[in-house]
Symmetry: D2
Subunit: 385 residues, 4 copies
């Protein structure tokens, strides 16, 4: 008989919706070593939480995350709340011996992440930070191809960009993602973190960084207490934007590759564009999340007169994860990356052995984020130990 795992999720907004979907779907498409129950969703507002539970498929609700921790039937704690709450919840979950899945960025600072990582390691609980883009099939295929040598022995360049446009309107209000006290940083922790994580996954460890950060729109309308006001009105109170609108940085990996990364929320027309290009001694890989079912690959091994970037439609049974879904050519979407991630996490929980990206990976990314932030403030290169 299959093991039974009960999940408790803290938070139910954008990420909560994506996670709930993945919890519901993962057992339908992947052959898991456990059956899952969506036991409890937790939110501060009881009415909204109840509505969310009904909509998202959770059996029960609570309004204090400690109740999730204290529930002996909960096996997995899934953290999807704003960044400044990740640490206390994760620490408590680890102490309670729960497996922990935490949205990125892991914590608000390197010390916080160190504390979180130490806690899960000491407690011996399975842990993961939810860098779901590692399990876009095209990204997982890129990893496989690099490992089998398709790009050659040396990597020369990792160039990545995460570009959005959703706050370009100067009247877009001061939501929590634009406040340093809640979010820690802006584009940096929210989206730069993703392409840094992909760089660590695909290329290797970062040795040194030098970057700049910029806030293009320095004041925005303050949100009313209700949270309901999403547009500015005449005479409305303005508040300072305390996070970055964009970050741009260069660096070096330990293996000698050069890094060039950029994250911005001010690129008109780029809705959720994650692009990277990796140039190796034998070929190149390129990816674009807005076209996420494809991977582009140039190989010097092709005949001299027939070389070109291959546009691989990553929907074949031979490709990572997609065999569980639909026939070749039937594309999947954003939400599926969470399903793949959760399939691996559930297996890890049953095996009692964490798989990447662990909290230690989240900490490593935080160290890079922190170094870039320091570099932007001091206008100096910063070396990672």
């Amino acid at each position: 008989m299959k093991k039974q795992l009960n999940v408790g999720m803290i938070g139910y907004n954008f990420m909560g919706k994506a996670h709930s979907n993945a919890w519901r779907q993962v057992g339908r498409f992947f052959d898991l070593p456990a059956d899952l129950t969506l036991k409890t969703v937790c939110g501060r507002n009881p009415k909204k939480t109840a509505t969310a539970a009904a909509q998202l498929g959770w059996a029960g609700t609570c309004t204090d995350w400690r109740q999730v921790i204290d529930d002996p039937e909960i096996d997995i704690v899934d953290i999807t709340t704003p960044n400044n709450t990740h640490a206390p919840i994760a620490l408590a979950a680890a102490a309670a011996g729960k497996a922990v899945l935490c949205e990125k960025p892991l914590g608000m600072s390197v010390p916080e992440c160190e504390q979180m990582t130490a806690a899960v390691e000491k407690a011996g609980v399975v842990n993961m930070v939810c860098h779901n883009y590692r399990r876009v099939p095209a990204v997982a295929l890129a990893k496989r191809m690099i490992e089998r040598g398709d790009l050659g022995e040396r990597i020369y360049h990792y160039r990545a960009r995460y570009a959005q446009e959703w706050i370009m309107d100067p009247n877009f209000p001061l939501v929590w993602r634009l406040r340093a006290d809640v979010a820690g940083s802006g584009t940096h922790g929210d989206i730069d973190a993703h392409i840094i994580d992909l760089g660590r996954y695909l290329v290797g460890e970062v040795k040194e960084v030098c970057g700049l950060m910029e806030t293009f729109i320095k004041e925005r309308p303050v949100l009313a207490d209700t949270g309901a006001e999403l547009t500015a009105r005449a005479g409305q109170q303005m508040g300072a934007v305390t996070v970055d609108d964009a970050v741009s940085w260069i660096g070096r990996f330990e293996n000698g590759a050069i890094a060039n990364l950029e994250a911005t929320r001010f690129a008109a027309g780029r809705k959720n564009q994650v692009t990277f290009e990796i140039n190796g001694s034998k070929g190149t890989l390129a990816f674009d999340l807005e076209d996420m079912n494809r991977l582009r690959f140039y190989s010097n091994a092709d005949p001299a007169d027939a070389r070109g970037f291959r546009d691989i439609l990553v929907t074949e049974a031979e490709h990572p994860y997609v065999g569980s879904w639909w026939p070749a050519g039937h594309v999947i979407g954003y939400e599926h990356t969470f399903v793949h991630t959760f399939a691996e996490f559930v297996t890890a929980v049953v095996n009692g052995k964490s798989v990447h990206p662990t909290f230690a990976d989240g900490l490593a990314t935080e160290r890079i984020l922190s170094a870039i932030q320091e570099s932007a403030q001091t206008r100096q290169w910063v070396t990672l130990c």
Copy 2:
């Protein structure tokens, strides 16, 4: 209190998996006027059906589709079985007063489709044929744009192609889709039907057609009774392929537009490519299902020096259906087209009023399919009444 609707589904293979997912997901993402229960799945093999029910989320099973019809608690009958079984099931469902959702092609012939259409109309039951590509957001957006005049008053060309490659290997076995007695036709009813339906949806009624059909590989290995043998062995028995591998045809719409369509399973590298281009007097629209989150649009209304095909990433709240899913730029996939279709169908069932594409649409498509088949046999143009 919301109405409660119970669904019974006949068949559980590829289409059954896609339909089950849509039945499970539709209420999670769309605000439906009814709650749905996946009550019964029906298949001939009891053990396989039980496994499918558990995997796909159905409460009960049966092995005779008449049990679904006879169950007074079933409100919706969903038909996903091979083509030659659509008619008897649909006729019985209509007679029993059930709402009917039927996979395409509707039936095996024009008379059969006429009978089916007459039955649902006489019974007054809500009916739909599952041409899910109408509800790709990009396709629905194309429809909206044509209706508001973005292409101008005249349409000159509808050019479409459905291209696959999955049977190019001559040793690929004689599956049911390659047998005329079960499937009726090959590419014609299976995939040409889709682009004909899109033509009727987006451009209008077809007036006359002239086509050719071709079977490139005329014999294939016979499948063993177990259905388990998917590759040919030396000395294996060969059987005749009795359906078309490709169909190519030209025609005219009633509004004067020219049609040029092609369906093939012999296009290496085209996994599941549905492309169309519609040229109107003020602009052009182009679509590719392998890139289904995008719609390309050229407008003569743009400034003379800044005209070009717009690559619309159809993931905005302003676009059909996608606002129910994720933020802008977070793409969706193949399976979502069924969810959109089912959301409309459920609403139709509650309203007691069918929405497109109805059985009458399925019949209209069958008439075109039949006319092309006649044309290919007689080598004559065939006029539709």
Copy 3:
């Protein structure tokens, strides 16, 4: 010492400009077996011809094409005049023992083309019809790849389209290309001819055809005698458009491949789009003239998880023709296709041996054009002998 060849060109408009450029440039970039002199350009209007000669680089002028034929120093006669003048000039040139390069379509009818072909063959003069798109490097590479078996032993599909938009405005005047008496046909001879020629070049001989032709705008403003009026005025005289605006046809090649072709001047946004796709048993090739420095190639021989359409930038020394121009990645344009064609023609003239596409190729294309026209009129399939 190099042979010296003198060229006389009849006509100096669009094609005359492109040909003149090629005559001037070919010796600068290709190592020819002869030196070329642009001796005479011929046009009916003495003043305009003199202006053209100065602009285009011709040493002398004349106003009667017979003077070019009668000039014993002229070695090559280049015909760029409207279609109804090709035959008399070519016949005279052949009779005078000149090498002849003739713009496409070769003649106005099959008998005319037969007469022209017989004449050059009887006279033993080197002859060529200017289907310049054969020598787009990407097209020449496609030919090479097909010949070496990159697509496999069987070709299943040849699908091509030539799409333009330049006469979509109903007020665009009745220029000579829209009059059957001068042009013979519309899109058919002007642009369908190109993709038919490419089909014969790349796939093989055509066995049977069935097509339709359409004139969307049946009347247009008559051009004033001056030829200067390019827009319609109120009360302006209207004249009947006597050629096709679009042609669409299906057919079969002798080798069993299916043909599906379309030519139109009513595709908004398609400026000069020549696209083709060839599906073979081992792979696919695709081309788009608006992106003419690229060839797309899908190969079943690639590893199963790394297959995809290769986007070959055809600018390498290994590629046909381009090594004579610039380093890799430095693209060329439309005009270069004439230079490549003329390089081959000049070599042929020196060798005394015609190279493809000869007048016989022009005749073969005319036979197909004529068969399609007959098919469109009779609404019957037409078989080519």
Copy 4:
């Protein structure tokens, strides 16, 4: 009567070939205020120079560039020699009152460029540095669109990359472009200079920079004296590569836009890729030189449900320069950018008034190049005055 201008060109290799072509072609396609004569080409090797003159269309030759300067009939001196010779030739040409066109980079250092700029300004001679990519039609269109406000009032990002692959083979020899004494720098002056110039042209002046430079392959086979040896042999002498293989930098423009640029010769599959993206408050422009006939444009002014990157095929009469060539949709290539540049330069010479990019522009670019180089050495941000 038209003015007559005589040109003398120093150097005849890759750039000499491109320049010669432009000198020959410009008067054929553009209505110039002067007639041009290709009077003298100068090279050190008399035999090779004579061959080049015949091939490239020059009336005479010389072996000492001072002869070009001393020739009173020469009006224009065109410098296409290696970088360390630009200054002496340009200084002499200015002193002799010649108009000067100089390949980029202008000089080897800021002081050298200052001296060159002062010289042409003092002499009052028309001068230009050959940043030909400014006159790619798509780039000139981008400039027009930015100036008329299509991107809005603020520019947020300029992101550019110049990527090649031609020296990735470690056995590629130590050509002059890899030696600091002749070339000054590697990718930096050769190709980074181009995208810096485009940034200044399209976005504005640069305020501060911070960059890194890298040499991936530190030793290469020394070229034999003959210059004929292009591949390494066993036991061949190795020499140090003294220039950069890649450069990557970030910075800020005076108008607040962020710069992120990269130049590399180690990007497999990127033949001659110049890409840039400019994000403004109302839209985005994107360009790729390998696809140089196109410009991509996203506009917030488009209807909310029909926004997308427009793929503008820059071949219309309405677009800069291309009206002089061929009809819409007939693409041009790399060489045409020189023709456009020379058309403007010739007009400037006749008008006696320099047009951009002048030597002062070359100096400004050199200041940025130098600042980046200093930054890479000191690992500090460098502010431009």
